[in-house]
């Protein structure tokens, strides 16, 4: 069995048991689909060809979309913003480490609370005006304003002041945060002239492409930015983003060579799509996971033995195989996987163990059915996953009662409201954010009601720690706490599954986010 090259940049050097399992699952895929995935290294060796009209068929757009990056919701907005806009900091596709973007370098005070960014001087916006530090300051202010509806507001709560000091961007935080550069890689934070205060929907930025036409929920077209400040991107002349929410329509469009790339290929159709001779399947490891969340403070889940019993009672491998078709990796009941920087790599993988489950279940003293609420709104296949789980738990003598909730209103009426429900979590740029979003005692979205002072303290300690080794050790400690005492049952991390025509080259598997972290259009080229 050959090693699968495209996975290599994603997996750290030391292969843990968990990652090994993930890799073997992936290798199983590679055997059936060998040759379908073009290795990154091989692509880098080719010189990109210039020109052509790149057509992308994308799921995740609606008539309600807007171009304002602060309000970006849905894949199409995410993608379009990355065509016209640039962020202050970029991230490394393979390691997730911060890389220079519109800021060429940065440094922080010893306690990581004051950050100074040197800004590029040679950059112009699409309208011809020169980009200045004032634009960056205004951008950050617009997104951090208390009344801002920006999706990045939550990330940037700790920003106290944003200033232009002698031509440098200076950000002062209310507490030390070693991850600040990575926070600035958030996809909402596209730098706009005067921060977008004048016209947030103008789509004028510094990106590789300029917007030509935009019809929300239908189509957007872009042309190459002739004055791009970077010469290592934007190989095609023009880009067409077509909103295709129907799964079959996307497959048909790719199979008939009407588009070069489609996103969100369903695991069950992959095998069929593989047969098309001109199609590449693009599988990218991702940070998102499917989970069942128990409230640690609500009976019967306030008993850690019951929580452990529930965690041992799920057959993760079967969920991986049946629900995501093997296109993912096993979860280990903490919300971080190898796609995060400084992820723990030596925590034992928890496996299906009905005996252990029965032992802990008995010890917990609980009797009677456990009510699990689920809906396909939580994640695709969540109802099936719950029923599989029910069967797994039966072998341990645990009776799970599955209740299917309506998809409408699931996020407001069930998730984070009822004590045991299915959910999906997308990735966050850093481990710190991942935990802060839903495992910190004070987090709005603490959907497992995991409230532990010692955990909160570790989180804050790790946040201000500039030494990466020490941070990694702290994060390991936190992961073990969540895994063994938390309320999350995380069976799988699901991969991003996209497909492209073979004529599209240079796709970079980016651990940051889907669609090559949004930058697919500026990274790929067309081999006519």
């Amino acid at each position: 069995m050959t090693k699968r090259p495209s996975i290599d940049p994603i997996l750290p050097n030391s292969l843990s048991r968990r990652q090994f399992l993930g890799a073997t699952a992936a290798a199983g895929f590679a055997m059936t689909a060998s040759g379908l995935i073009v290795p990154n290294s091989a692509m880098a060796a080719e010189t990109p060809k210039k020109g052509g009209n790149l057509k992308l068929g994308i799921k995740g757009g609606a008539a309600t979309d807007v171009l304002d990056p602060a309000a970006a919701a849905g894949t199409v907005s995410f993608l379009c913003n990355h065509l016209w806009g640039d962020k202050i900091v970029e991230s490394d596709p393979e390691t997730g480490a911060p890389l220079p973007g519109l800021a060429e370098s940065w440094e922080s005070s010893a306690d990581a609370s004051v950050w100074t960014f040197k800004i590029r001087k040679d950059v112009a916006f699409h309208d011809g005006s020169k980009m200045t530090v004032a634009d960056l300051v205004a951008t950050l202010k617009r997104h951090t304003d208390e009344k801002s509806k920006s999706g990045a507001l939550g990330l940037l709560r700790s920003i106290k002041t944003v200033e232009d000091k002698a031509g440098d961007l200076v950000i002062t935080l209310s507490e030390g945060n070693a991850d600040l550069p990575l926070l600035l890689t958030d996809y909402h934070l596209m730098v706009q002239p005067n921060g977008g205060y004048d016209d947030p929907n103008a789509a004028i930025g510094t990106g590789a492409f300029t917007l030509k036409s935009y019809e929300p929920g239908i189509r957007a077209t872009f042309e190459k930015n002739k004055n791009d400040w970077r010469d290592d991107r934007g190989h095609v002349d023009s880009v067409e983003v077509i909103v295709m929410n129907d799964n079959t329509a996307r497959i048909a469009a790719l199979s008939s060579r009407q588009v070069h790339f489609i996103n969100f290929v369903e695991p069950k159709t992959i095998k069929l799509l593989e047969r098309a001779p001109h199609v590449d399947i693009l599988q990218t490891h991702a940070k998102g996971f499917y989970s069942f969340q128990m409230f640690c403070d609500t009976a019967p889940f306030d008993n850690n033995d019951l929580r452990l019993a529930m965690k041992y009672a799920i057959d993760r491998q079967e969920i991986l195989d049946r629900i995501v078709g093997g296109y993912g990796s096993l979860g280990n009941d903490y919300p971080v996987n190898s796609t995060y920087q400084m992820a723990p790599d030596d925590i034992e993988q928890r496996m299906y163990d009905p005996e252990k489950a029965a032992f802990h279940y008995k010890k917990s003293g609980h009797d009677g059915p456990v009510l699990l609420r689920t809906s396909d709104a939580a994640f695709p296949g969540a109802v099936d996953a719950a029923v599989l789980y029910q069967e797994h738990a039966k072998k341990a003598g645990i009776n799970i009662e599955v209740k299917r909730e309506p998809a409408d209103g699931y996020w407001s009426n069930v998730w984070n409201v009822k004590p045991f429900s299915a959910t999906y979590w997308g990735g966050r740029p850093t481990q710190d954010l991942r935990y802060a979003t839903s495992y910190l005692s004070s987090a709005d979205w603490n959907d497992s009601r995991f409230k532990r002072d010692d955990f909160d303290k570790l989180l804050l300690e790790a946040r201000a720690e500039l030494d990466n080794d020490k941070r990694k050790a702290l994060y390991r400690q936190m992961a073990v706490m969540v895994r063994d005492e938390g309320g999350s049952i995380i069976p799988v991390f699901n991969d991003f599954l996209n497909a492209s025509a073979k004529s599209m080259k240079g796709f970079v598997h980016d651990i940051g986010n889907d669609l090559s972290n949004g930058q697919i259009a500026s990274r790929v080229w067309l081999d006519a």
Binding site: T64, E215, T248, A252
Partner: protein, 333 residues
């Protein structure tokens, strides 16, 4: 004045101009119907779990953000207040802005409605003459091979769900023998011929879906007329089959045919969201579904009103045409 005397002028008017009175009565009724539709949509959207603020924010909703949006849009007001405010604006022709995108509803609907009408028009242009023609042919060769072939094929087409018909056409004409344009997305600045070319597949799908209904109604209506005595006379006069059907039978079978055609036209405009999705066609249906998904009430209301208006208008036209087509109704005694 007694209630009877109140109606007296109207009764007199309706005696003198029965058709005009009928139209007037129906117009008045339509407004009541439209108003009822707005109430029902309002209550319907209200009855869905979650409001705009919570569905729009989805999993990322925080109590503050939800409260911000609610107070900004006036969602914290009582239901009746909100409805009256909306109705007041709508009556004065202002459908407001979409809550989700902030864009003018009328402007956005203009484009989408244009697309829907474009698709429906060409589908009807093919489907109506084709189905009526096939219906006539089926009667002419009643219970013979052509009739049976027409029946079986059209019934087969109508039995398949529309998305399946769409996928079949895509499979044949896009994947296996790449001849048609796909996706069928039309956009600003597309020239007329390209537009026509790109809607070929959705038009074909819609024609297949509505064909059988209209064809069979034509056939049934004409066959019924064929059994009357004067048709026998015409036959005995020695007129040939198709001529009898077209000249003598068809005019008397018009009313039910017009009715079923109108119903199908309405369907072609307002009921084709599935076809829109399959062929990635930017019509009204998709627009309304997107809006319902996030409870974008101004858009849902405007779309609902337009759909209702189209339905009512087409039905009314059908009734009026049926009256005009029937001399006995045109000149009641």
């Amino acid at each position: 004045m007694t209630p009877q005397s109140l109606f007296r002028p109207f009764v007199a008017f309706s005696r003198q101009f029965p058709l005009a009175a009928n139209i007037l009565r129906r117009l008045l009724l339509s407004f009541v119907l439209l108003w009822a539709v707005t109430v029902m949509i309002f209550i319907g959207v209200e009855a869905l779990p979650g409001d705009f603020a919570t569905t729009y924010l989805g999993q990322s909703a925080t109590p503050e953000a939800v409260a911000n949006i609610r107070s900004e849009l006036g969602l914290d007001q009582p239901l009746l207040t909100r409805y009256v405010t909306w109705l007041g604006d709508a009556v004065s022709g202002d459908f407001g802005n979409s809550w989700a995108s902030g864009q003018s509803v009328s402007e956005q609907i203009g484009k989408r409605l244009g697309n829907s009408l474009f698709l429906a028009f060409f589908a009807a242009l093919v489907a109506v003459p084709l189905s009526v023609g096939l219906g006539l042919l089926a009667v002419r060769y009643r219970n013979r091979i052509p009739d049976k072939i027409i029946n079986i094929l059209s019934l087969a087409a109508v039995s398949l769900p529309e998305f399946f018909v769409g996928y079949l056409l895509i499979m044949v004409f896009v994947v296996t023998f790449p001849t048609a344009i796909f996706p069928s997305t039309v956009y600003d600045g597309m020239d007329f011929l390209t537009r026509l070319e790109s809607i070929a597949l959705p038009v074909a799908t819609l024609v297949l879906v509505v064909l059988a209904h209209m064809m069979r109604m034509t056939r049934a209506a004409i066959i019924q007329v064929m059994s009357s005595a004067y048709m026998e006379t015409a036959e005995l006069k020695g007129l040939d089959g198709l001529r009898i059907i077209i000249k003598h039978a068809a005019p008397n079978a018009l009313a039910p045919i017009i009715n079923v055609v109108a119903l199908n036209l309405a369907y072609l405009i307002v009921g084709v969201v599935v076809v829109e999705v399959v062929f990635v066609y930017p019509g009204m249906g998709q627009y309304m579904v997107d809006a319902v998904t996030v409870r974008d009430l101004p858009v849902v209301q405007a779309c609902g009103l337009i759909f209702a208006t189209i339905y009512i208008a087409l039905n009314m036209t059908a009734d009026i045409l049926a009256i005009i087509a029937n001399p006995r109704l045109r000149h009641p005694r």
